[in-house]
């Protein structure tokens, strides 16, 4: 079970959080203009990497804020947590 560093509250136990899957999947600006294929990718397709993964979490039993987590799925080490809207960290930040 992780210790997660909420960007708003600090380190807390994983039991206070929940995970909402892959981060940085932007909703198409104008859905009416995207093809079925593109819309389907937005809806259904997600990465499942062995290694660095970016994911969305909420601090449910705390500040209730959404934020992003950069996690290594092999070691389960959380490399970085950052606020929504912040730049996606590059691999060099690891």
């Amino acid at each position: 079970m992780f210790v997660i560093n909420c960007p708003y509250c600090g380190e807390r136990d994983q039991t206070e959080f929940s995970c909402h899957g892959e981060a940085h999947i932007a909703r198409p600006d104008n859905p009416a203009e995207v093809s079925d294929q593109e819309w389907g990718e937005y809806l259904f397709f997600r990465n499942n990497p062995k290694g660095i993964h970016f994911e969305r979490w909420t601090h449910d039993h705390g500040c209730r804020r959404w934020f992003n987590v950069m996690r290594d799925t092999v070691s389960d080490k959380i490399i970085k947590t950052y606020k929504m809207g912040d730049q996606k960290p590059g691999v060099t930040d690891v």
Binding site: M1, F2, V3, D13, H20, R27, P28, N30, P31, A32, V34, D36, W39, G40, Y42, L43, R56, T58, R64, R65, W66, S75, D76, M84, G85
Partner: protein
């Protein structure tokens, strides 16, 4: 004769305190400080159980938590606990325990016929025999469970209390042997907050049972001084009788503390057990090692035990388990036990598999008159309920061949030692990697993954001086890492009588030829897995270690193979002629030892299992005999039965009261969200399928929310309270989900929108009054003008109701003229009672959720989650009218044009009327075109809602039917579970007041 095996003096028991206990119905006496196992051995009780599969007589093998054989049913009635290790149970006055897995008694067990028939019970027997046909499995299982059960669970409710404790510290040390103690001391002296966990009632570890010195002084005294100092430190917390069970990511550790388990009385203030959830910056593993059994023919008879266990029984408990004792060993260390036994008056022989025994040891044996058989092995044992004779023969270890004369020895106790295995279970749980050590012939910790430290025997080091100094230094290092000012280093010289340096693994003793000759070479005592079973698994292709484990079940008992794993792997290595490294090992998983569910549940049982939410009127509902229904976490009145009424009578009466005069529903559980901010209207336009820009202040609108797949997800009425201020309602069960949904989009997608969402569900009590007399009734209690002209349908007004500032919404979920009166929750019950009082003249009738469902179904109003299931669009529900064509975008819109959502044969929402006018269809029933004798038949859909309608006098149902809107008037069939087939006709979804006049009165 009582305590006939007790020595005259010695041991760490209190001989002044006699304790009475009962085992298998017979009374015995022991002493304070005994375990059940030591007290039984003191009374010469060796036969304590029957084995799992063959029902063989079994005794006490070990003296600790690794015990595979001596597992008993402890206690009686509601507190009875199965599979308890006699070696860990501290004796208390009045203790009652019994053998498991035997019938009618441990001495005469019918199941032991399995042993005679064992040739038909090899590994994989159950898999092979009961694989087919599957329908017979349940039949077989009944008998297998009966024959092979372990203990039994209590059937009555456990009266004990279990607590949980969350704990945070710098350093957690698992194991209170000298290594753990010294690390704790170093870290404690340096100022770290330390948690020291040990599973025994006494700190000091295995050395308490051995002769050793520190700096040439008495070691036991030295240990006591350290323990005293640790207890004097405020920054060190010590937990005895506490087993570390699980080691998870980020140094998260769970541990089970036995608080009053070992006491003879239930405590009024203390829990029985306490479950610790510990998060520490560093974890030190100092769990020591388990002695490894030797695998030889019939090595499982009562009277055969581990050498270290024998030493412990003798040194700690003053129990001499046998008078004519054979030590069977492959290492020097175990000789200490032989010498101690000899010293206490036992007649000793030693069988050692090695030919190069230390000359000093040989000399000492000679001096003491101990007969030493080197390069030899025990090749057979006999004795039905206790070992009484063995055969010994010379063995060539390399060739694994026997030679020379076969010597017969009489004995009543065999002490065996095959070397030591570090207790790597927790380390392995923590993802640590193991390495096979070719000197110790066992797995030792290799690669650390977490912020952890492994010390002492746990780390595969058996040199006392090294362990003392290394453990202390590691404690200092940890403190330094955590930025404490560290105490000074110290150096000790420790000396054991004989230390453990190396040992080989004897894969299976001698004989190759004997393996199949009727005798059994046990590897896993608890699960009755023999060397022959491991051979069989390899022959039949279950070669991977994971396959062998599952096929033979080795290591799968409640002891998780603490004594068996390495021997099983060594045998596989021998069979395949490959190094053990290449065989690998199975994964260790929590818990380390069996643990109670009570401790895991803690206080989260009964009414504390899940929070219960109650409205401000709840007490009134209770007082008025409401029957309650769980809706999410809410308790809602289901119906209000009057004397002798059943649910049908009550619901019928409640329904008719609403349709004919006046009813009242406690609708407080509806989700309510207060939305404010300059972008709220824009936001609602994205969240709901319909348009909100033109909604006037003071007006209400029904809205439907879809997810991005275009599927209906929640619904409710939202009201514009001000220019940038809305009051949203959601379904009762969906409130939290909707709140998260709104926040998700505000926080992750539309960060520039300024909208604030506040849950106000519990701030408002909602009294929904409904029926033709509702206006007349309410007007008498409010200053709001309720006239049709001034307060039309779908409008909102504020004013006083019964003198309380209220919000009144004119909306309807029954189809009748209705008002939803919202009052601040603290006035909820007051207003409710005023209404009840004042409404008498209108026969005001409180109604519950069932009546609410019937009334809305009569009007064809949907309930999200009942009529919809997450796979239906607004169009499927014939709700195209609520989907804006003009809005460019809203959540779910794009998915309405996906090929799948455009399919013409999608299920559509329809009404259903049974042709017999009396059958109330079960909800969930399948609808078919033509019912056949048996499946398959052509499916059309299913019933989503179904009730008897009191106002119409016949049943009504709602359903999802393929292409349903084009089938109005068509006949369909509904086959029931009882074989009957009901005919029905597809109808409109609105059954009552089709014109919708009633709520516009």
């Amino acid at each position: 004769m009582s305590n006939q095996n007790r020595t005259m003096y010695g041991g760490r028991i209190d001989r002044g305190k006699v304790i009475n206990f009962v085992f298998n119905g017979k009374k015995y006496k022991g002493f304070h400080g005994d375990t059940l196992a030591s007290a039984l051995l003191a009374n010469d009780v060796h036969l304590v159980g029957r084995s799992f599969k063959y029902h063989r007589a079994r005794g006490i093998l070990t003296a600790g938590s690794e015990e595979p054989n001596a597992i008993v049913q402890l206690g009686l009635g509601a507190r009875t606990e199965p599979n308890m290790r006699a070696t860990e149970i501290e004796l208390y006055e009045g203790l009652e325990a019994a053998s498991q897995n035997c019938w009618p008694s441990v001495n005469y067990d019918i199941g032991s016929l399995n042993n005679v028939l064992s040739s038909i019970f090899p590994a994989g027997f159950y898999y092979k025999t009961f694989k087919w046909p599957p329908s017979l499995w349940l039949f077989y299982e009944h008998f297998i469970r009966k024959a092979a059960g372990l203990g039994h669970s209590p059937t009555a409710k456990n009266p004990d209390r279990y607590e949980q404790k969350f704990y945070y510290c710098d350093l957690t040390i698992v194991g209170g042997g000298i290594s753990g103690l010294l690390s704790a001391l170093a870290a404690g002296r340096s100022g770290c907050s330390v948690l020291l966990i040990d599973e025994n009632p006494e700190l000091g570890g295995y050395l308490l049972d051995y002769n050793f010195s520190i700096n040439e002084k008495d070691g036991i005294k030295w240990i006591k001084n350290i323990v005293d100092e640790l207890y004097s430190m405020d920054n060190v917390r010590i937990l005895k009788r506490t087993t570390a069970m699980g080691y998870y990511d980020y140094n998260y550790l769970t541990a089970l503390e036995k608080v009053t388990n070992h006491c003879d009385q239930l405590s009024k203030t203390l829990p029985r057990e306490r479950y610790w959830r510990v998060r520490s910056k560093k974890i030190v593993l100092a769990q020591g090692a388990f002695e490894r059994p030797l695998v030889f023919a019939d090595n499982d008879r009562p009277g055969i035990m581990m050498a270290s266990a024998g030493k412990k029984y003798l040194s700690r408990y003053g129990v001499l388990p046998g008078k004519s004792v054979v030590l069977f060993t492959n290492n020097d260390h175990a000789y200490q036990t032989a010498f101690e036994f000899n010293d206490k008056g036992a007649k000793l022989s030693v069988v050692d598999t090695r030919d190069n025994i230390d000359s000093r040891i040989q000399k000492k044996c000679e001096d003491l008159g101990i007969k030493l058989y080197s390069s030899s092995s025990i090749i057979s044992t006999s004795g039905n309920k206790k070992v009484n004779q063995i055969e010994v023969q010379k063995v060539d270890r390399k060739q694994n061949e026997l030679s020379g004369e076969c010597i017969t020895l009489d004995t009543d106790c065999i002490l065996m030692s095959g070397g030591w295995n570090p207790a790597v279970q927790l380390f392995s749980q923590s993802r640590g990697k193991l390495r096979y050590d070719n000197v110790l012939n066992t797995f030792v910790p290799d690669k650390l993954i977490q912020d952890q430290i492994i010390i002492g025997c746990n780390n595969g080091c058996f040199d006392l001086s090294k362990n003392l100094n290394h453990s202390y230094q590691e404690g200092l290092n940890a403190a330094k890492d955590l930025n404490y000012e560290i105490a000074d280093s110290i150096n000790w010289t420790g000396e054991e009588e004989i230390s453990f340096t190396e040992s080989s693994v004897e894969p299976y003793m001698l004989g190759k030829k004997k393996v199949t000759k009727g005798s059994k070479h046990f590897i896993d005592f608890q699960n009755d897995v023999t060397a022959a079973d491991i051979f069989l698994a390899q022959r039949e292709g279950y070669i991977s270690v994971e396959h062998t484990k599952r096929y033979t079940t080795t290591g799968m008992g409640t002891d998780q193979g603490k004594t068996s794993n390495v021997n099983a792997l060594a045998l596989m290595s021998h069979i395949h002629d490959k190094p053990v490294d290449e065989i690998g090992h199975t994964t260790f998983r929590p818990p380390f030892s069996p643990q109670t569910f009570g401790a895991i549940a803690g206080r989260s049982v009964d009414h504390l299992f899940d929070p219960e939410r109650r409205t401000s009127i709840h007490k009134w509902h209770e007082e008025n005999k409401a029957v309650f229904e769980d809706v999410g976490q809410w308790k809602r009145p289901y119906y209000f039965p009057k004397k002798k009424e059943n649910i049908h009578d009550a619901v019928k009466r409640e329904c008719l009261a609403v349709r004919n005069s006046l009813g009242m529903l406690d609708a407080s559980t509806l989700g309510k969200i207060d939305l404010r901010g300059p972008d709220t209207t824009k936001f609602l336009n994205m969240i709901y399928t319909n348009a909100w820009s033109k909604l006037e202040i003071g007006s209400c609108r029904y809205g439907l929310m879809c997810n991005e797949h275009g599927m209906i997800f929640d619904d409710g009425v939202t009201t514009r309270l001000g220019e940038d201020h809305y009051h949203m309602t959601t379904t009762t069960g969906g409130a939290a989900r909707v709140m998260s949904w709104l926040e998700e989009f505000l926080q992750t997608e539309w960060l520039d929108m300024e909208v604030f969402c506040t849950s106000v569900t519990e701030q408002w009590t909602v009294l929904s009054i409904s029926g033709p007399n509702s206006r007349k009734f309410l007007q008498e209690l409010t200053d709001i003008d309720l006239s049709k002209e001034n307060f039309p349908f779908m409008k909102f007004r504020e004013g006083k109701v019964c003198g309380i500032d209220s919000r009144v919404f004119r909306i309807s979920f029954t189809g009748e003229l209705s008002f939803e009166v919202n009052v601040p929750s603290r006035y909820g019950r007051f207003v409710w009672e005023q209404f009840m009082q004042h409404g008498k003249k209108y026969n005001i009738t409180p109604y519950g959720t069932e009546t609410m469902h019937v009334l809305r179904a009569e009007k064809g109003f949907i309930i999200v989650g009942q009529d919809t299931d997450g796979s239906v669009t607004p169009m499927d529900m014939n709700m195209d009218w609520i989907v804006s064509k003009k809005k460019q975008d809203f959540l779910g819109k794009r998915s309405f044009t996906r090929p799948d959502t455009l399919r013409s044969d999608r299920k559509k929402f329809v009404g259903l009327l049974v042709n017999d006018k009396k059958t109330v269809l079960p909800e969930g029933s399948h609808i078919v075109e033509k019912a056949l004798k048996q499946p398959p038949m052509k499916m059309l859909g299913h019933v989503t809602s179904s009730y008897y309608s009191p106002i119409l006098g016949h049943p009504i149902a709602l359903a999802m039917v393929k292409n349903g809107t084009n089938r109005l008037g068509e006949k369909v069939e509904i086959p029931l579970m009882n074989g009957k087939v009901i005919e029905a006709t597809i109808a409109d979804t609105v059954f009552y007041d089709k014109e919708g006049n009633k709520n516009n009165e």
